[in-house]
């Protein structure tokens, strides 16, 4: 392929924007094309379940800085295929877009409810800005909201809706909310929501949604029926990889990459963000996919820096994943891969704060905190350095300095 072709990024959201910024920084003259199916310039999603949903922010507040970047934005354009032999991104409409190198950043979408009643109005998902605006229109004080799925998006919406005066029921097949963080954290999250007046229906699945044009009832697997004015389906996210099915790239739920975020099949193809599956040292080289904001930033930036380079010169992505979730006055933060832990042990608790260490086979692989960024920082640094923080029970003075002495 001639090097005259641009570097193309598919997916104009967080990872795509960071990749474009990194490419621009590395080479101010290189032609960069960003293709995105949404009509909007890149915006940030976390407020969609929090400040924007609560009415504290409007659409203009969620725009990500960088939309004025000097690259070619092709918005409202959907990619339908990747022809690697021709070095072209196939588009839904119009001629294909040639590329020299391509960065795949098409992220995830909300997993829909596919059972009975899926077609009823009043049934929402939450991923994109228009979803958030549509859901917000229906969050009226006194209305009954049933949230299917107590993952982080479901829990955040439950909290936002509760604060807006709705009657909220949170349903999940799992025994506690935020399953990947383990039962110690999950039971405390359950207590938080119950204390705020959310009705929890845990350990039970959903059978059907009922209504007459508009949803009015959620039927659970145990036969009970919950009256509902609005339903949010928050059953997690699925990677947008279907458009790549005929590309010949290895897909395992995400785009399978090596440590440098380069496709294992093609050095001219890189991936970043929610859809990227890559081997992580904390998972002992197993491939993981991380659906969180900071990961999209870090991977987008690295993929953008790596793309113009020869494969042998590309740097590996080793950053420790981190994530946060704000619910009521509680800021839940996690570092590492607590979802892979076999034990999550509370190290400190009190005053609304908590720090817990996540271990697998005794090895530190993550940590979780409530309202304690400084407490978490020691673990984050230890994980980045491949070290451990002594488990509770070890002498107090063995605690690393930042825990006791974080302030300057």
């Amino acid at each position: 392929m001639s090097t005259a072709a641009p570097i193309v990024i598919v997916g104009a959201s967080l990872a795509g924007l960071r990749a474009a910024q990194a490419l621009r920084k590395a080479d101010p003259a290189r032609e960069v094309v960003v293709i995105g199916q949404e009509e909007h310039l890149p915006y940030t999603r976390p407020p969609l379940s929090k400040q924007l949903l609560a009415g504290e922010q409007e659409a203009e507040h969620v725009a990500l800085p960088g939309g004025d970047l000097d690259v070619t934005w092709r918005l409202g354009v959907r990619a339908t295929g990747l022809d690697r032999r021709a070095h072209e991104v196939v588009l839904e409409e119009g001629p294909p877009q040639p590329y020299d190198r391509v960065i795949l950043a098409t992220g995830c979408r909300a997993r829909p409810w596919t059972g009975p009643g899926a077609e009823l109005s009043g049934v929402h998902v939450l991923r994109d800005l228009p979803h958030a605006l549509a859901l917000r229109d229906e969050l009226r004080a006194g209305a009954r909201l049933v949230v299917l799925g107590a993952g982080f998006v479901g829990c955040e919406v439950a909290a936002t809706a509760r604060r807006a005066g709705l009657e909220v029921t949170l349903v999940d097949l799992a025994a506690h909310p935020m399953l990947p963080l383990g039962p110690a954290i999950g039971s405390r999250m359950a207590d938080l929501h119950e204390g705020e007046g959310v009705a929890l229906r845990l350990g039970v699945g959903v059978e059907a949604l009922h209504g007459d044009g508009r949803v009015n009832e959620v039927e659970l697997a145990d036969g009970s029926r919950l009256p509902a004015d609005v339903v949010l389906v928050a059953l997690g996210a699925q990677p947008n990889v279907e458009w790549l099915e005929e590309s010949g790239l290895t897909l395992d739920g995400g785009v399978v990459c090596d440590a440098t975020l380069t496709s294992v099949d093609d050095p001219d193809v890189l991936a970043a963000g929610d859809l990227c599956s890559w081997p992580h040292p904390l998972a002992q080289g197993d491939r993981i996919r991380v659906e969180h904001w900071t990961n999209a930033v870090e991977q987008g930036t690295l993929a953008g820096a790596n793309a113009p380079l020869d494969p042998v010169e590309r740097a590996a992505h080793v950053a420790v994943p981190t994530f946060w979730s704000d619910q009521y006055e509680r800021k839940v933060q996690a570092v590492g891969l607590p979802g892979l832990a076999d034990a999550v042990e509370v190290v400190r608790e009190g005053d609304g704060k908590l720090v817990a260490a996540a271990r697998r086979d005794g090895r530190l692989i993550g940590a979780v905190a409530f309202n304690d960024v400084r407490g978490l920082m020691a673990y984050r640094k230890a994980l980045a350095a491949g070290e451990d923080v002594p488990p509770p029970g070890a002498a107090d003075d063995a605690e690393p300095a930042p825990l006791a002495n974080g302030a300057r």
């Binding site: 976390p46 800085p65 900071t294 870090e298 930036t301 946060w324 960024v373 400084r374 302030a407 300057r408």
Partner: protein, 62 residues
């Protein structure tokens, strides 16, 4: 160069502290403190902090 943080936006995520520990810090009750005037040697670290701040609260001047 000067570093500005919009404290109306800042949610004390601490991402900036991790990216640029010599410039940003979290004090008592996780309130952010930072150096307003920093040397060129910190530019790369502060630029990274700008990129990773989830609230887009950090601005560099100069």
């Amino acid at each position: 160069m000067k570093v500005h943080v919009d404290m109306n936006l800042c949610q004390s995520h601490g991402e900036c502290v991790f990216a640029a520990p010599d410039v940003f810090d979290l004090g008592e009750d996780d309130v952010l403190t930072w150096k307003e005037e920093v040397g060129e040697d910190q530019r790369a670290a502060v630029e990274e902090a700008v990129q990773v701040c989830p609230m887009a609260a950090i601005r560099i001047e100069g």
